[in-house]
């Protein structure tokens, strides 16, 4: 239970109250805490983050590896937080498995990270939580530009808006999404603001001109 703690909590945090705990998961937090801080890379083009993560040693991790084999490339722990790196096509089966078999019934978040220098440009990150185990796990996958990952709406309804936001901000299209529209930006807006090649002052000047009737938003 202690392998997923917020920083304020001491190692001997009380176990979750009320609900029955699932299969016990060994804490693997301490190993990661001892990891030496990495010096910042001097060259501006940074390689994808290689975290000082340690293998995630638990029954669940072994179970997942056994079941999905090649579909999971990494099960790790960093700062006491567990994550799985999966192949894009096995993400939905993993989410389904985690929900139905391992009781990870609450999808906390779906988000993405842009690494323009990398061949698989985007990380897509799913944060899951299990009420009965009081445990969090992140499922990550790396996808190339233009690749359409399958939607998770069929597994967790909450993925609907969260995936819309990822689409809006990064331009990642989720295959089979029931309602893939922009959610925060105006519908006709050009460009996806959270991509790294989208400047902080950049705007869709045409949209600004036509809709706000001013020359420039700046």
């Amino acid at each position: 239970m202690a392998d997923e703690q917020t920083p304020g909590a001491p190692d001997a945090a009380p176990p979750p109250k009320g609900e029955a705990a699932g299969p016990p998961v060994k804490p693997a937090a301490d190993a990661a805490k001892a990891a030496p801080p990495k010096p910042a890379a001097a060259a501006p083009p940074k390689p994808p983050a290689i975290m000082a993560a340690t293998p995630w040693d638990s029954d669940l991790a072994r179970e997942l590896k056994e079941r999905f084999g090649e579909g999971i490339s990494e099960t790790s722990t960093y700062l006491g937080q567990n994550f799985i790196v999966a192949r894009p096509d096995s993400v939905i089966p993993i989410l389904e498995y985690l929900k139905l078999e391992a009781d990870f019934d609450y999808m906390v978040d779906v988000t993405a990270v842009d690494w323009p220098k990398r061949a698989e440009r985007f990380d897509v990150v799913y944060v899951l939580y299990s009420f009965s185990r009081n445990e969090r796990v992140r499922v990550k996958t790396y996808i190339a530009e233009g690749f359409q990952p399958e939607t998770a709406v069929g597994v967790h309804l909450t993925a609907n808006w969260l995936e819309r936001e990822v689409f809006d901000m990064f331009g990642i299209e989720f295959a089979g999404h029931p309602d893939l529209r922009r959610i925060l930006m105006p519908e006709e807006w050009q460009g996806h603001p959270l991509r790294k090649d989208y400047g902080i002052l950049q705007q869709d000047q045409r949209w600004v001109r036509e809709n706000l009737e001013i020359e420039s938003g700046q």
């Binding site: 945090a13 009380p14 890379a41 940074k46 983050a49 309804l157």
Partner: protein, 370 residues
Amino acid sequence: MPDSTFLDSTELVLNMGPQHPSTHGVLRVILKLDGEKVLGTDCIIGYLHRGVEKIAENRTYAQFNPYVDRMDYVAAVSNGLGYCLAVEKLLNVEAPPRAQAIRVILTELNRIASHLLWLGTHALDIGAITPVFYCLREREEALKIFEKYCGARLTTHAFRIGGLLYETYDGFEQEIRDFCKMFIPKVDEYEELLTNNRIWVGRLKDVGILSADECKEFGVTGPVLRAAGVKWDLRKAQPYSGYEKYDFDIPTRQNGDTYDRYMVRMEEMRQSVRIMEQAVEGIPEGPIMGKVGKVIKPAIGEAYVSIEAPKGELGYYIVSDGSTQPYRCRVRPPSFVNLQALDRMIRGGLIADVVAVIGTLDIVLGEVDR
């Protein structure tokens, strides 16, 4: 059909907002109606989108700290706490005990301020005018304490990464004690006005029901989840900032309707007072700032840290590339996720209930749109 008039059509599409007093900001809800019955809704959001996550990537860790106050601006202290905890997690440092205790006091005070604003405006939406004056009167006392502590009333920027910048002022403890003593009878006063009020009960009971399973399916957290009977609060489930030291209950109700959410929040205010009373009695002596360098430069890595904000689970997912700026800072806003359940809650209800349900979700559009 040339003879048909608009009276022949049974469905009506009605646009509510974005400038509408009971949508609590700039929320636009498109309603499909059959008479007074709601057939479906579509939320249009983003009017307040300021690109907070993009700004984070272009500011240093410390520079971004004040920006998070502008998301859920009625609970700025909670936002700051979540962000500071997330960066502290990446740095692998912890705030000193004294800072933690003061953080808890101010965060709980902020929870009360946030709930008071919710109660006042929610009651106003339903048609009860008086509570808003009472609520803002007590909220003012809370804001005065913030102002005395850090100079700001709303966007407080109260915490720093690694601890606190300001020591408490003279008489801080006494003022917190006085507030707690003053506040409990006031909650009873609000309850006297509303809890058994026939109109209040009639408008709220069995309106906007969201069951526990639906809450989990939609990722809905906070008082909405607890009103559906799930005894889950991050302060208990995964304690942070020393919450495990304090004795308090997680109020729950069973029906998951608007009335239960009201009851849960009322009780939560009392529990917040309990936490503050305990915390203020034993503020440890010592430093208020942890061992954090002048330049904040976490190691390459990522962390997801979440706290129990007044609205639900507020999470920060920060990716560090080893530089002084976050490579990616994702905010998991409770209001945004909770708002998604709006359609499920009011489908089949009456148009008058839409106002009640939006109020009971306690959304802040600054946080929905970021």
